[in-house]
Structures are given as structure tokens and as C-alpha cells.
Symmetry: C2
Subunit: 346 residues, 2 copies
């Protein structure tokens, strides 16, 4: 009997072990140290991220941050996706002009619509700021929020970046998507905080970044509540700007929309300076990072920090680089820190 | 051997069952039909809530709502806490006047501060709207967001409602807190959408409602980013109103701050009409509810719907009552639908 008992005990223990392992498998898989940032080369930038996550999530750490306070904010253009040679949303607005003129033929011979319709890239690039605002107003406002979302959705599903012949949403930086996932896996709520349009980014943020629309903070206009001819209520997008979510507008927008100071912030240009500064000014562990575009082979090279070519789209001046060095913000070198840039890279 | 095998098999199965039950216990406890709304009397209001939750969370239901779209919005004053005889935040502003005058003694003899300092309740109640705005501006703006939060936190911890001699945050409606918890347990994200100040409610929303600051939408002013004498950045609260989160401002604020249409909305007055209308105008199952204050014994009675006394604080006119009946919005009778009103009620 003892022999049988032993045999059954062994079988029992083996089966219990199997059952337990099925139950514990996800936890074990999580605990196993797989690299959470496989698209990053080993170096100070990768180390800073991992050290920050450990310091703020280990309950024994003096820098522990309770889960509800774990907020991380990401600029979009140049930080999480390509923004050269021009911001994708500006391309969207230019692409929408023919449809706007079709609906309002009287605009055909009016500037700046006439120039945009001409397709003359040099002339379009030279349009003064005021003309650009006219195009933004005509293509981003005046329609219902549903109509706008549908228009953006169509564009995002078809428009391609000429250099790569890829959808703009395929030109997101895989290393940054890994950081978002890594932070979320450690209890962080991730937000986009962009100078771009809030309603624009919300259309694809969940699918592309895993960030729901309510966690997108961006430049935002007002809306006006009204009724259609059947008495159904709808919201119309107004040209009135409520939040210019750039520079000082970023911490202001973060306060308005989130109401908490981030513990981690990621940017790439002067427009992100105040967001990083505001993030770092909080108590305890804070992570502030700036992407430096120093890789014209795989993406683009612009600064003008570190002798890189100058640009008006996502300017990273030497003064910002020096400030980062002085304040302990980490500059991410695209060239050296990123093993691959896009998901479609090998 | 067979007998022993049977015995061990029985032991094995029993132990496996025990292990499995330990693993499954939380799920089973959840499935067991404990009443999720114990402070509600059986009736059409309670039934409407439960039916809505079942219809939108049962994956086999034609009205199933995917988890990410489960948004529920709650007005605050008169919907989740007492707002009579006056909105709590207005009491806060009046209570702050002595401190404001102490900091700026030149206001002592200037109206409306002089009248507020006199303590003459009748005279205070008669102050014209413009004077009230001066008091709001003086007590809600001009300081850093941290200073404001600290001032509100102090007040909330000490100020009491004279009728009950209880903290204002103790005068939240237990039945509505149960609805919030019930919705959250079923995957809903709960939001406060209040005409009151966003920064004010955010101070206590997590503790009192289980709603984090980033899920509070309210009337909101701008802030200005600046630096203190040590170069540390901070945000100052501006008197400029960005969002008047009342009436049509509620759907506009919901779009700005959430970017999704709610599936359930709760209010109590004309200020909530558009939020309910906007909620109901979406596809599929929608829940729209209005609290009617018809219980002067346990709380207050005001309408003027259904012959209740008229009021300027949380007006519920007969036209709104008729609209609710016509559109299938559920009117919650405090008197009949709520078994108890406050957590401290027996």
C-alpha cells in the first residue's frame, strides 16, 4: 500500500504542480528578466529608463511612487513618430484642401488655397504663417467632431510618407513604443502631450500607441453644441483655440487635462522644454528625456545642437542640449541608442 | 490496489478542487448575486441601472459595449452630494474671504468683501451676480495650483454643513456612490462632470468618490506657467475661464476632456439637460438619470417640477420632468428610490 501511496502521491504532486504552474505562469513569465527594451542599445539612455522604473515601482525604494501617481507624458512629433520634412498633421491639412475647395468652389482662386492647389511645393513651403492658419482653420474646424474623425481616419489609412512609402502611423519609433509598454506594464498611465491637434491624434492613438483618446492632450479648439434638422445634437469644431499645447502651454495643458505632475516626460525640441522642467521640479524620482535626431541615414539629422543641420520643424538648439546636460535630462541619440527605429526595420 | 487508487483519486480530486476553488474564489464571489445597490429600494430606477449594466457588459447582448467605451459621467452638486441651501464651493469662497482680506487689507471696506465680512446672511444672499464673481475670482484665482489645493484640502477637512453638523464630503449620497462602484466593477470609467470648479473637486475626488483627478471635468480657468525667485517653475490660476462646464458646456467639456460620448449620465437639474441629451443621442444602450429632490425630511425638496418648491440652486423645472418622461430618462425619486441617503444613515 505504501508503494501505491507513494506512486499516487507523486502523481498527485505532479498534477498539482502542473495546475499551480498554469495558474502562476503569467506571474512567472513577468518576473523572468526578458529585456523590456529590445530595440535599445545598452547605454546611459536605456539604463536611465530601467533605473527609473525600478526606483519608482519597488515598494522598498525611497523613490517609490504609488501607482495612482505614475504619470508619463510623451510629445508626439519627433518624439514618437517622424515629423520631417513637415509635421504629418500639416500634410493632412494640405491634403484636405482639394476637398474643402470642392465644397466651397469660391475658394479656388483665393490665396492660400490657390497656391496649395497648384501643387508647387516651393511656393507652399514659403506660405506665410497667417496663410497656414487659414488652411488649418479651413481643414480642422467648421465640421462636426464625427465628420472630422472620419476624415482623419480615412487619411491615416491611406496617406503615405514619400521617403519610405509607408503610412504615417507606421513611422512611429519602435523604441518609444517599447518605453510606453514598459511603463504601462509597471503601472504607469501614459499620455500623449502634443502641440498637434488633440482631436487629430485621438483618432489613432489607441490603435497606434495603446493610448486611449482620454489620455491625449493636445492643442484644442472649442466646440459648439447644436442640433441637426432632425433635432439630433452634435458638436461643431470651432476655430477658437482653447489650449495651445506647446512650450509653456504643455505644463498648462497637463494641469488642465490631467491635474497631476508627470513623473516621466519625453520630448525632442524647444516646445518640450517647459514640460520637462515642470516634470523635474516635482519631488522624488523624475525622468526627463529628449530625442536627438542625429541619424540621417535611418531617419533625419537636425538640431542645430551638436553641429547638426538647423531646422524649423522640431528645433533642438545647443542651449537646450546644454540645459539637458546641466539638469540631468537624458539626451537620446537616435544613432547610438536605438538598435532599430521602425517596427519594419530588421 | 484499485481501492487505494480510488481513495487517492478521491483525495487528489478533493485537493485539486480546493486549489481550484482558492483560485476561482474571487471570480465566484463576483458572480454570486449579492445586491450591488443595497441603498436602493426595488423599483424602476434601480431596475434601469441593473438592466443597463447587464445589457452593456454581457458579451452575448446585442447592446454590448466594449470595455474601452464604457464611460459614465456624474454631475456633482445635487447629484452626488448636497447642494442646498447653497453650493458647497460657494460656501468655500465665502469662508475664504477673511483670509483674502487679511492678505489684502485694502479690501476690508470694499464691496462685496465688506458685506461678506459682516456675516449678514440676508445681505450676502442678495449680492448681485457680478459681486459673486468678484468673490470667486478673489478666492479661486491668483494663487499657485499647489496653494489652492492646500487651501481647499484644509477647508474640506474642517468645514461643516450647519444642518447635519457633518463635513461636506460626508454629505455624499450613498446610493450614487454605490452606482459608481457598481459601474466600475463592470468596467466603466467613472467621471465627475460638474459646473463646479475642476481644481476644487480634484482635491477630494479620489478619496470621496474613488475618481482620480484626471477623471474630473469641471469649470476650468487657465493657468500661467512662471518661475519663483529660486527659478522653480509653478502654475498660477488665472481668472480667464476656459470651460464653463454647465448646460451646453457639459457635452463640450466632455468632448474636450474625454473625447468619447458617455454611455451613462447622471444629473439633477437644467444644467445637466444637454449632457443627458448628448449621452442618449449615441447608438446602442444609454442610461440617462435625473435625481429629483422630493425628500425634505431626509434632505431637501425642490423642483419646481411636480409641485415641489422652486429654487435657484439646482432647478428641476416641470419641462425637464416632462422631457425626461418623453425621452425615457429615468427620474430618481430621493424619497421613494433611496433606502438611505448618507453613509451615516441607518
Amino acid at each position: 500500500m505504501l508503494r501505491h501511496a507513494h506512486r499516487f502521491a507523486r502523481v498527485f504532486l505532479a498534477l498539482c504542480g502542473l495546475l499551480a504552474s498554469l495558474v502562476l505562469l503569467p506571474a512567472l513569465a513577468f518576473a523572468q528578466a526578458t529585456d523590456p527594451l529590445p530595440s535599445w542599445n545598452e547605454g546611459p539612455a536605456k539604463a536611465a529608463i530601467i533605473e527609473f522604473v525600478h526606483a519608482t515601482t519597488d515598494s522598498g525604494s525611497p523613490k517609490f511612487v504609488p501607482p495612482e501617481a505614475r504619470i508619463a507624458t510623451f510629445d508626439q512629433d519627433g518624439t514618437t513618430w517622424v515629423s520631417h520634412p513637415m509635421y504629418s498633421q500639416v500634410i493632412y491639412c494640405l491634403d484636405r484642401v482639394p476637398a474643402v475647395v470642392k465644397a466651397k468652389p469660391e475658394l479656388k482662386d483665393v490665396e492660400p488655397f490657390k497656391t496649395v492647389l497648384s501643387g508647387n511645393r516651393e511656393a507652399i513651403a514659403k506660405l506665410p504663417k497667417q496663410d497656414l492658419y487659414k488652411i488649418l482653420a479651413a481643414t480642422l474646424t467648421g465640421m462636426s467632431v464625427e465628420q472630422f474623425s472620419a476624415e482623419v481616419k480615412d487619411w491615416v489609412a491611406t496617406a503615405k510618407h514619400p521617403r519610405w512609402d509607408k503610412l504615417y502611423t507606421e513611422l512611429t519609433y519602435e523604441p518609444m513604443l517599447e518605453v510606453m509598454r514598459y511603463l504601462r506594464a509597471n503601472g504607469y498611465k501614459t499620455y500623449i502631450v502634443t502641440g498637434g491637434g488633440q482631436d487629430f491624434v485621438r483618432v489613432y492613438s489607441e490603435r497606434v500607441y495603446g493610448i486611449p483618446p482620454e489620455q491625449v492632450v493636445g492643442s484644442a479648439g472649442g466646440t459648439t453644441y447644436g442640433y441637426d434638422k432632425n433635432g439630433k445634437p452634435f458638436l461643431t469644431k470651432d476655430p477658437k483655440l482653447l489650449l495651445n499645447d506647446d512650450n509653456a502651454g504643455k505644463p498648462e495643458g497637463i494641469h488642465l487635462m490631467i491635474g497631476r505632475r508627470p513623473h516621466a516626460a519625453f520630448g525632442n525640441s524647444t516646445g518640450d522644454r517647459q514640460m520637462l522642467e515642470y516634470t523635474q521640479a516635482g519631488d522624488g524620482a523624475r525622468l526627463a528625456m529628449l530625442v536627438l535626431h542625429d541619424d540621417d541615414k535611418r531617419e533625419y539629422a537636425y538640431g542645430p545642437a551638436q553641429g547638426l543641420p538647423d531646422t524649423k520643424v522640431g528645433t533642438f538648439p545647443q542651449a537646450l542640449y546644454d540645459e539637458a546636460t546641466k539638469k540631468g535630462w537624458t539626451v537620446i541619440s537616435m544613432k547610438n541608442d536605438w538598435k532599430r527605429i521602425f517596427a519594419f526595420d530588421q
